[in-house]
């Protein structure tokens, strides 16, 4: 599936004549697009159009049904839309990030991986360090989202996938998240792809807009200060 040799140097990911979905039912029939390295791509489309299917395929959660997907990404990070953790799981925000940091290490180093200082730094980046010691289950939706983003960053990805990072989040957290994602892309050169329902809130940060509709993906640069 991943074939870096066939990939243009400017791109981190390319789909060619790809068919995505589930073995019983394809959701996207003709996917031909590429994601430039260090870009910020917002992915929009109507409910059920296949945005999450596309993101899950990029993340390796769903197999490709046909065609090719070539990638030069060495490590991906993921911020899910929902966390389906047991409410009694007493994990703190700090420990949550520690688990993400441990994901960046080989298995034999996970015993000591995820040092507290490093984890606190990721939480600070996401402006979540003040609730580092609080239990994840007791945080608000916006606070959880910041912790989940810190966890994804702790895995040291070069390609970050976000599934509706601003859904159900208050306005203040939305602004923090958007500003943070903009900084990340500029400072670290990380490639970001995010599913969003309102692309316009990423004005000034997004570089590309991918619209998913009618079983296909239409990729275009961000134009004239708005999603074209």
């Amino acid at each position: 599936m991943n074939a870096p040799s066939t990939l243009s140097a400017d791109n981190i990911l390319e789909f060619q004549q790809a068919r995505l979905g589930y073995p019983q039912r394809a959701i996207l029939e003709r996917v031909d697009f590429s994601i430039p390295r260090s870009s910020f791509t917002v992915l929009s489309g109507e409910n059920g159009s296949g945005k999450t299917t596309l993101l899950k395929t990029i993340g390796g959660l769903l197999p490709l049904l046909a065609g090719t997907m070539a990638s030069k990404s060495t490590r991906r990070g993921y911020v899910p839309q929902f966390d389906n953790m047991d409410a009694s799981f007493p994990v703190t925000a700090m420990e949550m990030v520690g688990m993400g940091a441990a994901a960046a290490f080989p298995w034999w180093r996970t015993i000591f991986g995820g040092r507290r200082q490093t984890c606190r730094e990721y939480l600070r980046q996401c402006q979540a360090d003040r609730f580092a010691g609080q239990m994840f289950s007791q945080l608000s939706g916006g606070q959880r989202q910041r912790v989940l983003l810190a966890r994804a960053l702790a895995a040291q990805p070069d390609f970050l996938l976000l599934d509706e990072p601003t859904a159900g989040v208050d306005l203040e957290t939305q602004k923090i998240l958007i500003r943070l994602l903009g900084h990340l892309r500029r400072d670290s050169g990380m490639t970001v792809i995010a599913i969003v329902h309102h692309p316009e809130i990423f004005e000034g940060i997004a570089t590309h807009h991918a619209r998913v509709a009618d079983g296909a993906v239409c990729m275009e640069p961000w134009q004239n200060g708005r999603a074209s």
Partner: protein, 298 residues
């Protein structure tokens, strides 16, 4: 004083007491995988499936089957049967979870019922196996001999250490499967490792002390500790502490009032969870400041 006799080195039931405490210390660390991985029903079904394995090997021995008959002691037959069913079942379930996302409760209920009926059918004409399994049903703690205790003492602490050492990776693949997969963690390998670790401990415990005590130690300390813990780290300490206290309280109650040990240990655990819940519920009515000052942080 009669109660203090249990701490004497020559105490007749020293193996039972030490096994209770050892299980209390180690088994909850495995139980966390079931409770936090939302597989608590698996923790109920699996001991029963292990028990079906025990019944199967006793039946095979009675029928004169080569390798079943070759196992000389009841303990070795029970251990072989328990592990024979527990390990492959857990591995198969782990792979099913990976493929389908989760196990439905109906499948677990069916596995529980199938194992239960299978056990009883196999025992219907097997007196030796029936006696052994009846002991297991009542919690066979008191009958632990030196050989069984040595196996316990070798395997349980090792499994608990493995669970602690790899807790970040284990808990990540159980509670954040999608994130772990996207990060490139090999989920089938980790789920298989978890299945082997859990299966080894559950299979061993069922063969030696029976399904009731095993399930009690797997779940009750984890549930009780979850109401006290402020982090995953403190939860490990609380759950092992709860397990040890549960074992000790059950043993003392059993010794003092001449109660069946297995049931006494599990009842002590249930009472412990009930007390913690009641105290927390009561604290909910008090001032938040009092509640905060009483919360314990390690």
């Amino acid at each position: 004083m009669k109660i203090l006799e249990i701490f004497s080195p020559n105490f007749l039931f020293a193996n039972a007491l030490c096994a209770s405490l050892l299980m209390g210390l180690c088994v909850p660390l495995i139980g966390r995988h079931l409770v936090f991985g939302r597989s608590i029903l698996l923790g109920l079904a699996l001991p029963q499936i292990s028990l079906a394995g025990v019944a199967f090997v006793f039946w095979g021995a009675a029928m004169g089957w080569g390798w079943c008959h070759g196992l000389q002691t009841e303990f070795s037959r029970a251990l072989a049967g328990s592990l024979l069913f527990a390990l492959p079942t857990l591995a198969a379930l782990a792979l099913t979870i990976l493929q389908r996302g989760e196990l439905t409760e109906s499948w677990l209920a069916m596995a529980f019922l199938a194992a239960m009926s299978f056990t009883q059918l196999l025992l219907s004409h097997n007196g030796v196996g029936e006696t052994y399994i009846e002991d297991l049903f009542h919690g066979r703690l008191l009958l632990i001999d030196d050989a069984a205790f040595r196996v316990f003492a070798a395997i349980l602490p090792s499994a608990a250490l493995a669970a602690l050492a790899f807790r970040k990776r284990f808990l990540l693949v159980l509670t954040g499967r999608d994130f772990a997969a996207v990060c490139g963690i090999h989920l089938p390998a980790w789920h298989l490792a978890l299945a082997l670790l859990n299966g080894l401990v559950i299979g061993l415990c069922v063969a030696i002390v029976g399904p009731l005590v095993t399930f009690g130690y797997l779940v009750l300390p984890v549930v009780g500790a979850a109401r006290l813990a402020t982090s995953v780290r403190t939860h490990a300490v609380w759950s092992s502490g709860f397990g040890v206290l549960m074992g000790l309280a059950g043993f003392l109650a059993s010794y003092h009032w001449d109660l069946p040990l297995g049931a006494a240990v599990v009842a002590a655990g249930c009472a412990g969870v009930g007390i913690i819940q009641t105290v927390r519920y009561g604290l909910g009515f008090l001032q938040p400041s009092i509640k905060n000052s009483l919360s314990i942080k390690l």
